[in-house]
Symmetry: C2
Amino acid sequence: MCGTNSTNGAHAVNGANGASNGNNGNAHFRSNPYQPVGDFLSNVGSFKIIESTLREGEQFANAYFDTETKIKIAKALDEFGVDYIELTSPAASEQSRKDCEAICKLGLKAKILTHVRCDMRDAQLAVETGVDGLDVVIGTSSFLREHSHGKDMAYIEKTAIEVIEYIKSKGLEVRFSSEDSFRSDLVDLLSLYRAVDKVGVNRVGIADTVGCASPRQVYDLVRTLRGVVSCDIETHFHNDTGCSIANAYCALEAGATHIDTSVLGIGERNGITPLGGLLARMVVTSPEYVKSKYKLHMIKEIEDMVAEAVEVNTPFNNPITGFCAFTHKAGIHAKAILNNPSTYEILNPADFGLTRYVHFASRLTGWNAVKTRVGQLGLAMTDDQVKEVTAKIKALADVRPIAIDDADSIIRSFHLHLSEQGKAVHNGEAAGQEMAPAVVA
Amino acid sequence: MCGTNSTNGAHAVNGANGASNGNNGNAHFRSNPYQPVGDFLSNVGSFKIIESTLREGEQFANAYFDTETKIKIAKALDEFGVDYIELTSPAASEQSRKDCEAICKLGLKAKILTHVRCDMRDAQLAVETGVDGLDVVIGTSSFLREHSHGKDMAYIEKTAIEVIEYIKSKGLEVRFSSEDSFRSDLVDLLSLYRAVDKVGVNRVGIADTVGCASPRQVYDLVRTLRGVVSCDIETHFHNDTGCSIANAYCALEAGATHIDTSVLGIGERNGITPLGGLLARMVVTSPEYVKSKYKLHMIKEIEDMVAEAVEVNTPFNNPITGFCAFTHKAGIHAKAILNNPSTYEILNPADFGLTRYVHFASRLTGWNAVKTRVGQLGLAMTDDQVKEVTAKIKALADVRPIAIDDADSIIRSFHLHLSEQGKAVHNGEAAGQEMAPAVVA
């Protein structure tokens, strides 16, 4: 809605549309009544992903990737369709350097980057591995200048230009990023970015290294930067305060071109913008772009692969792949979902190769959900009979948690009772369950 | 930074401050150089929490709360300091009604609300339970009007006013909310809210029922609404696209007064704004308000209680309580954190009764982290010796994942070797580890 109101009554919601949300039979919802208002700054429909599971993700507490695992993850991400794969600096360890070389030799479609300190020796080592580009980083906040590397802005700018010119002389792509950008001096930051833009850096990077940024701060900073540099803008958001997906989205709205992600968001502390979560956000806004570019049905498989490698469980509340992301429970929700999934779903589970569930074995259930289950069991009842058995299910579920088996038993026993009394309706009368979603406990 | 630059070089970052981030000895960081620019609309420093674990949370797929569990959760939330506790409608089931009565009789400091459909019978049933107020809801989007209740806007407004006037006549607080507000017609929505504001509703509610809203949309809608009604504004955000915390934050920036939360965000599908995650965001922006009002050290205990009740694990990447939320791994991070925790931490673990860890048993480690560990083991080495043993740790960690025991063994064996050769430095020379954070694998 964006607080605006267009003349035809349709709104500038970057919201659901029936076409992408699919499976309903109503032609009215096949067209999108929520076209966004045009915004020349926004790249929400044309962004690139720099996938950093093999760099930022390796900084996750539990991560240890051997060469074989790295290659498996890199290949899967490449098949999924990410634009770039970022690897740990070859300066980190000898095996890191060898793995970098091995992944460069795979001949993937994605460009291979490595992430190095703004230091000529690190850059030289990286260039020799065969990568397509270098992501160069240095801390610019007073915190990091005082407590980490101890260098002043003049020194940073001079070194940055030397390193960038060296990398470009080798024919490679180069990004220059500050660390902790949101606690850096704005004028220092813009001066530095303007200087590196002038010497032809491919991208500048904004990094919320500590996870302190809020969405409108991100929008303002990226929008300001967009007016200062002509190169691409990459952004990197930590999730300490839970805003990493939203911040990435607002960065794109303000003209950022590249977003850093990792699978399940793994990284330092509680991590960064997750690949799956970002795509949940973006597919709602730009369904055509996202669906044509990325193999969304691979998200679960890639998340499972990484979760296993770092020995964590997919969070129960993960966007898309959390076990209940497409489970509907309250009676009022279930009723509407059964009529039209777009009522309570902005994402279509089928886009991700997943399935919708309507939970009916609880005290919050309603008779519409139970009616669907009755049909799935091949039984036939009138609406009044369904309401009667719904009351029985709710009564038991009010006393203790019940499983689908319990609810099914109640339905079957009630139906048997009806049959014995000759009250059961003919099976043919309870038809048309084909299109109904799966109803489970 | 907010894209602004103040004259004294301090920025309008709603960011870290040394005072709240505590444990460093540098007076420079004790004052807050990141005072936000004043904003008369913003309620980021004066919001109220409507805690809905016992309503929205009961709609989570795995949730079944018996009376005892509900009371335990309600008491814990009350002690924590939430302003309101919202309960499932007494119309949902007979036990729901009894539980509502039981919780009202506890005499908690928090006000007790129940969440009901915009229906006179539901309202009457709710009023009789002894609650302090009713949260009334009806779907206003074309999706819900067509596929759920089938009522038009004129009917909705008429019913809303009847129900609101009834509840007020009973001396109770009343909120009126639309469902799926971001896919509702803006003019319809504003007309309806203006009408209910005129009859004296206490709060109007904006609900992103399907989780489609983005932060700047939220800001725009709430800001527009703020100019139309004089009552309070409550907001409710689902997390399907990962923006529920950011959206709540932007709503407060735009003048919303109340935020709905649940513990761990449990609710329909993948849930809503999580209590802990919201407070991670808010404590960064408004440390004094948040710390004086809420018992932050209870977050872990309350999350554990609810996680156990609904049989899920706390997500590995949860803000604050994820197992690695305060774990630092990369050498460059560890070095700076050991100098000053504010460098890579926007949240202070001590505020939540938690502890920081610096991970040193990996190939990404650096000698500063190892040096701290050497001190913790009561050993003494020169910096050159620490660098030498760091190389040994990195070499082993390059071949396989190593545990803290492995790294400790390498350090002890190296130190023993030094002693035998008479190269070990005197213990007294490696002092000053008192203030160092815990270093573990």
